[in-house]
């Protein structure tokens, strides 16, 4: 019974966080805020949901002593690690693609990326002129 309670607490943490991620898709006004809410909440929640599954496999290993449950936990940790890396990288790529395709955050005060890109363009133009001379 303690085992079920522990699994229930961990999976509820994950599911609540996951539902925040889904609701943030509908409640936020533009792409960047939606990306922020969805990516952070779903990564956190899916890690916790997976941990509850691993905890169940660990209890089965203690109960029966079969090594295939340990193999399942190890493979599951590889999957969670892959999820951790790919989610962050994909969200970064989506945000950059949204910026470059012309979507701007609505109350935008300072756009550091635009200044940076302008500086880089000026630098590369100056370098090209120098190379011509």
């Amino acid at each position: 019974m303690l085992e079920a309670l522990l699994i229930l607490i961990i999976i509820c943490t994950g599911l609540i966080s996951n539902s925040f991620g889904t609701f943030s898709l509908y409640r936020f006004p533009d792409v960047y805020t939606r990306l922020h809410g969805a990516t952070k909440c779903t990564t956190f929640g899916t890690i916790f949901v997976s941990f509850s599954a691993f905890l169940y496999a660990l209890f089965r290993f203690i109960e029966t002593g079969e090594w295939r449950f340990v193999v399942l936990i190890i493979h599951g940790f590889v999957a969670v690690f892959a999820l951790l890396i790919t989610n962050a990288t994909a969200s970064h790529a989506i945000a950059r693609a949204a910026w470059r395709s012309g979507t701007r955050p609505e109350p935008c005060v300072i756009d550091a990326l635009e200044e940076n890109e302008r500086d880089n363009a000026l630098k590369s133009k100056a370098a090209a002129k120098e190379a011509l001379i």
Binding site: T22, H75, A79, A93, A97
Partner: protein, 88 residues
């Protein structure tokens, strides 16, 4: 069937409902980036569902499928983002 298995099955059902709810943003997103965000969210949910199902049905193969699905969804998201930028 023990009580903790019922808990995990309920978790799978809730995750499937959340993934189906995220499909709405896929259809009514005003820009392409909104749709891409919804697709990324659904992919993350599917990986979690696969790990839960592998534990419930006691099959290790499903976790390996989850790893490959994770990598392929990452490649797909990067490809679509690159397409949005105008790189291709």
């Amino acid at each position: 069937m023990s009580f903790s298995l019922y808990v995990l099955t309920g978790g799978v059902i809730v995750m499937i409902i959340l993934a189906l709810l995220s499909v709405g943003r896929l259809f009514l997103g005003p820009t392409t980036a909104d749709r891409l965000v919804a697709l990324d969210t659904i992919n993350t949910f599917v990986v979690g569902i696969m790990i839960l199902i592998s534990v419930i049905t006691d099959s290790i193969v499903m976790v390996d499928v989850a790893i490959v699905y994770c990598a392929l969804s990452f490649v797909g998201a990067m490809f679509l983002a690159r397409y949005m930028e105008g790189g291709i």
